[in-house]
């Protein structure tokens, strides 16, 4: 297994330890705003860490909506915020 995996968030190139979740990898890079609320577009971050609050829902590879706190980063993953 490689010592790190590379991925992008909002186009920014980042790397993470294999097996870490998207939420952990982003927090380690100083990124805590993972989504915005539907109506007023207020910033939201990882809140529950256990997959039940949906506040950390992100768009992976342009098609899958996943909980960043439950989804491991894989090589080449493109992660984006869902804007409202």
């Amino acid at each position: 297994m490689p010592s790190e995996v590379r991925f992008t968030f909002e186009g920014q190139r980042l790397s993470a330890t294999p097996g870490t979740t998207i939420a952990v990898a982003l927090d380690a890079a100083g990124i805590v705003k993972l989504s915005v609320s539907r109506n007023k577009h207020r910033p939201r971050g990882a809140f529950c860490g256990m997959g039940w609050c949906s506040a950390c829902t992100v768009l992976v590879d342009g098609e899958r909506r996943v909980a960043a706190c439950l989804t491991p980063v894989v090589e080449g993953m493109e992660v984006r915020r869902i804007d409202g």
Partner: protein, 430 residues
């Protein structure tokens, strides 16, 4: 859609679910354990088929389950189900609590600490109990620059543009203090996760020492729905050792369902151990839950509330009183839909008496979290506005799917057989 029949389905791979799976894995021919997370908390139990990154999105009183995982939807019919879906840290209402950087103690443990994000940071822990002290200790060991414990009633606001930058605290004498903080950890109260048991049709009782609403269960931890057992935090908030013991009790109960009969002596011995690892208040609350199983006047229907609470003694639900500090009317209660305290109060003034009334008027609870975050906040706000105990505020309805699933997955599950998923959704809409 794939359909499977198993003897025992364990939902949740935490301490209780793992203990239950380990106990039934050797004894029952087919046992499945599913968990929403990508990995288990320990070594996989022998004789158990594991489904990771898999969420239960539907469950009914005949123990028919729909799970959604990496390979799409799967229908699982189980002879017995152990719901070990855990307890959750509850949100605390103050201005700015929805900002990034404000998180539950669970999130601190699984996101912020593994990310190294507490190093040299100023951390405020909200709460005064065991959970809060544990969280504060963990934050300090993770290298936090400063850790401060604040009671839930004393935190007034968190401020920041894109993330929390500082918090305002009000002391006992009313003195106001602002301090810089990059992380706010919510560890004031925990409550059982209810939704799966609600969807299965279980009855509930409000027992404060176990975290509020808890499924009513018998000596074998069987809920009011035959063949459905609860364990761990989902059966009441308690110490980790107690969670594991309830997992083992539920496993014995599930095995007895399969075999008809079972070893009642083993369950008695496990209850004796549980007593040693729990507290008198929690054990009294468990006794009340067992009484409620045979006395249906004591407990409510999970999805159709019709009566006021009757819990007694230390288990009684509190009336939420006004706090010493004020809550600004624009404070958000529903972070998915941006519904505010003022909107909830307005609903109550216009006659709303249940969270579902508030939902119909404001969309509160209709976002992706489906009430999981905002329900306790709305219930507390309604209790305060109406002057009634928390157990007089009904639980909101719970519907399929328990987790967001793509419409494409539903379409794939349709048309293959009578009673496909889309058909179920359509019957729900009617």
């Amino acid at each position: 859609m794939v359909e499977r029949t198993v003897d025992v389905l364990v939902v949740g791979g935490g301490a209780a679910g793992m203990a239950a799976a380990a106990a039934v894995g050797r004894a029952a021919p087919s046992v499945m354990l599913c968990d929403e997370g990508p990995m288990l908390g320990g070594r996989a139990p022998v004789g158990v088929e594991i489904r990771l990154s898999t969420a239960v999105v539907d469950i009914d009183s005949d123990r028919r389950v729909i799970a959604y995982g990496p390979h799409g939807l799967e229908r699982i019919v189980a002879r017995a189900i152990v719901l070990a879906v855990g307890a959750r840290d509850e949100a605390v209402l103050f201005e700015g609590w929805t900002l990034p950087g404000v998180m539950t103690a669970d999130a601190m443990r699984v996101v912020a600490i593994p990310a190294g994000a507490l190093a040299a940071r100023r951390v405020v822990v909200v709460g005064v109990g065991t959970e809060a002290r544990l969280a504060a200790d963990q934050a300090a060991r993770a290298g936090a620059g400063a850790v401060r414990l604040v009671a839930a009633g004393a935190i007034e606001a968190a401020f920041g543009s894109e993330r929390v930058e500082r918090v305002a605290i009000v002391g006992d004498e009313g003195e106001r203090e602002e301090l810089p903080a990059e992380v706010v950890v919510l560890a004031a109260s925990r409550a059982p996760a209810l939704e799966a048991a609600q969807l299965a049709g279980a009855r509930f009782l409000y027992v404060a020492p176990l975290g509020g609403w808890v499924p009513v269960y018998g000596h074998d931890l069987q809920a009011t729905v035959p063949g459905i057992f609860v364990a761990g935090g989902a059966a009441g908030v308690d110490a980790p050792a107690a969670s594991e013991l309830t997992g083992r009790i539920a496993a014995r109960g599930a095995l007895a369902t399969l075999e008809g009969g079972g070893d009642g002596g083993a369950i008695d011995r496990l209850w004796t151990s549980l007593e040693a690892h729990s507290t008198p208040e929690k054990m009294a609350a468990r006794a009340l839950l067992q009484r409620a199983k045979t006395d249906s006047a004591l407990a409510t229907e999970g999805n159709t509330w019709s009566r006021e609470g009757t819990a007694t003694g230390s288990a009684r639900a509190p009336v939420i009183r006004d706090r010493a500090r004020g809550i600004e009317p624009w404070t958000v209660v529903c972070p998915c839909e941006d519904v505010t305290v003022a909107e909830v109060r307005e609903c109550v003034e216009q006659g709303a008496r249940s969270p579902d009334d508030v939902k119909r008027m404001t969309r509160c609870g209709m976002g992706a979290c489906q009430w999981r975050v905002c329900r306790p906040l709305v219930a507390a706000e309604m209790s305060r506005a109406l002057g009634v105990p928390l157990d007089a505020i009904p639980l909101p309805n719970v519907r399929f799917p328990l987790r967001p699933i793509p419409l494409g997955a539903l379409a794939e599950g349709a048309g293959e057989q009578e009673g496909g998923i889309v058909r179920s959704v359509l019957s729900e809409v009617e």
